[in-house]
Structure formats: C-alpha cells, structure tokens
Subunit: 242 residues, 2 copies
C-alpha cells in the first residue's frame, strides 16, 4: 500500500515535470519549488487537503522582485536616452496586474493551478491567481536555477514573446505618461526635477519642477514625489490642451 502511494505520487510528479517542461521550455530541477508555486492559498479549503499546506505567496514576493529587476535592466538598456519617469511608467505597464494575468494565461499557467475548486467558475479570480502564480513560478525558477538562467528566461520567453514595446509606448497611464509621449513626439527634452524639499508638520513636501528643454515650466508640490510629478504634469497638460 505504501508502495502504491509512493508510486502514484511519483507518477503525478512525472506528469507535472512534463507539463512544466512543455510550459517553460526546460526541465525543472527541484520540483517541490514548482509545486508550491502553483498552489494558491485557497487550496487549503479543499476537502481532504492538508490545511497547513504551504502556498505560493512567499514565492510570489520573491518572483515579483526578480521580474521587476530584470525588466528594469532591460528597459534601462533598451532606452538609453529615456529618463527615469519614462522607465518607471514602462515597467508598470509590463509588470502590472492585468499584463501578468494575461501573460500567465497565454502561457497556460491557469491549467496547472491548485486552488479551492468551489471558485472554479469565477473567471476574475482565476485570472488574478494566474498572474500571481506566474510571479511565483519566476521565484521558483530563480531558487532552482539561479539568476542568469532566470534572467534569460524572462528576456527570451516572456519579454520577447509577450511584450510589444511599440504598443506599450502608445498606451497611456497618467498625465505624466501623456506628457512624456507628447515630448517624444515633439522632440522636446522633458525632465522632472526635484526642486526642493521642505518640512510641514514633520512631513516632507516635495516640490517637483517640469523642465522643457531645460526651462522650468510648472511645479507640483505634494507629500508624495510621484503625486507631485502628476500634479505638475496635469497643469502642463492643461496648458498644452492635450
């Protein structure tokens, strides 16, 4: 009986091993990491399942960081003349929730997931946990195969196959993104510059200036540098009627 149990487990592992190969394009080393990566927290609610079973949230945390870094470097190198604001916007388009969910689905990750079967008819839930598992799998690859391997995987299997940089360039996220796009089109030099930091009731207030061809146009002030940039961008967009 024990042998039967072990055999069935080995056979299940073999199947997963093959499925992962088909999905990722390489044979995993430490299969246990990938098993965790495809296990959503809700799986514990499934009858007869061990409620203490680990879930993929820790691996998601790690995978998110690895993906964010590799994408940051790719953008840094791909766009040598673009400023930090542009790079940040581009990255949030690539590693944003909806993009990750859709890439995960295209890769077929949703077919591997372990989760509470009662939720199987909730497509929004399935979409969300697919994107999360996609990050978890990246975390698993990193721990299993190391940095260089994971970097190559992200560059060749994810960015190369699923990201259209040209298309991303024309999508808009915010006033800042709108302005960045406008400046590119007009071939103007656009910069966001931290002009001053002052204290108000023990909180910092950032004053950010927008420079167009090195000339200061508008400023924005806020406790958050990012919001200060948005406020300044909004003013400028209004001025430009864009």
């Amino acid at each position: 009986m024990i042998r039967g149990f072990i055999n069935s487990r080995i056979s299940r592992d073999k199947k997963l091993y093959q499925k992962l190969h088909n999905l990722l394009g390489f044979y995993p080393g430490k299969i246990s990491l990938y098993k965790i990566a495809i296990t959503h927290n809700s799986y514990r609610n499934t009858p007869n399942n061990d409620p203490k079973k680990v879930n993929n949230e820790r691996l998601e945390f790690l995978g998110d960081a690895v993906l964010g870094m590799v994408v940051a470097e790719k953008l840094y190198l791909k766009f040598p003349y673009k400023n930090e604001g542009f790079l940040t916007e581009m990255r949030s388009k690539i590693v944003g929730r909806s993009k990750l969910n859709s890439i995960g689905k295209k890769m077929g990750i949703h077919q591997l997931l372990h989760y509470d079967i009662k939720l199987k008819n909730n497509p929004v839930f399935i979409d969300a946990i697919t994107g999360n598992a996609f990050e978890s799998i990246i975390g698993a690859i990193y721990l299993d195969k190391g940095f260089q391997f994971t970097k190559n995987f992200i560059l060749n299997k994810i960015l190369e196959q699923h990201i259209d940089f040209e298309e991303l360039l024309i999508q808009e996220l915010s006033y800042k993104a709108k302005l960045v796009k406008w400046a590119q089109k007009e071939k103007k030099k656009l910069d966001f510059s931290l002009k001053n930091v002052e204290m108000e009731n023990k909180r910092k207030i950032y004053e950010v200036a927008i420079l167009l061809d090195d000339e200061e146009i508008v400023v924005g002030k806020n406790h958050s540098k990012k919001i200060a940039e948005e406020l300044a961008s909004q003013k400028f967009c209004l001025q430009l009627s864009i």
Copy 2:
C-alpha cells in the same frame, strides 16, 4: 594647455577613484558610471556647467530594482516561516526613503555629491538626494561588476553593517504590521487570504480575509489588495484592542 586640462581631469578622476574605494571597499572599474551616480539633476544649474550633463535618475531606477530584489531574497531566506505580508513590510522598512537616506549618509555618500550649490544649506534636500544617490551607486556597481558582486556588496556592506533586523521587527508601519507583530508574540498563525475578486463598474474589488490559526476572522474589501488587507487588519486590531 590641452595637456593641462587632461592632467587635471585625470587627477580629479584619481581622487574620486580613491574616495570611492574608501567608501565602497573596492576599486571601481568604469569610473564614468560612478560619476553619473553621484550627479544630481540640480547640478545642471551650477554656473559654467554643461546643462545637458546626465544625472543619476536612470541609475537610481536600476539600483532601486537591484536593491529591492537582493533584499527580497535575503528576507525570503532569513525568515522561512514568515508569510508574504511580513516579508513585504520588512522590505519596505529596509528600502524605505528614510532608511536609505540615513544609510547613504552614514556611508558618506553626501560628501561626494554634485548638485546645485545654492541648495547646500537645505539639509532635508541633501538627505533626500543622498538616499537617491545611494541607489544610483548600486545601479552603477551592478552595471560595472555584475549581479553576484553587487549582491555580495549589498549583503555584506549594507545589510550586515547597517540593518538591525531585530529592531526592524518591532517597528510598526501599519495595522497589518501591528497585527503581524501581535500574532508572532501570541504564537498564532496569521494569514491574509484572497477570498474573492469581483467586478464593479469594470474595476476589480478584492476581498481579503484574515485567518487566525486557519479560522476566518474578518474580511476587507477594496479596489487595492493592499488597502483591503489594511482595512481587514484595522477591524481586527479594533477587536483585539491593540
């Protein structure tokens, strides 16, 4: 005259080279990267300076991502039984603005910075650009020396020397952090579980449940998963009177 100019430049480079060695503990390879890393955007306002001079913001973007990833892995390995919420909180304490500013200052980075000298009497400004330059320098090290070297630098020269993990554990950032701390003290198993995702006016609403020893206690709902967790944590903290 040209020779004089070149000589003075080489001599300035040599000084920077030596200063960087003292500060970082190794000799930089591509000194030009580090020169960019210590140049704040405001430096262009300095008289006789080239207004088109590059600044450190792109390197800051890259360094921020590298630092975030190395810290994520460190926390993942150091706290094998902590959940993703805990790891996220810990990381934001380590790579948060105020921490980076203070580490940058302790390392002496502020003494190397190039910035608009008119701002030299604004200590809050200097603090902020020191933290940013600290991230830029990490970006420079990554491009100069590669991933493994940078990882070792961050682990041994930054985390080892400047981060007291025990102290961080008792700092609070949010209701969630408060709850995490409470659960640790009480030796309770605390989990944040994505219970459902629904659509409302084309926007996702996340429903997050807090599980204590696998029993659901409260839920929080919001368009942001993070805020849903905070709302649920707040309810629970009120119930616990902590």
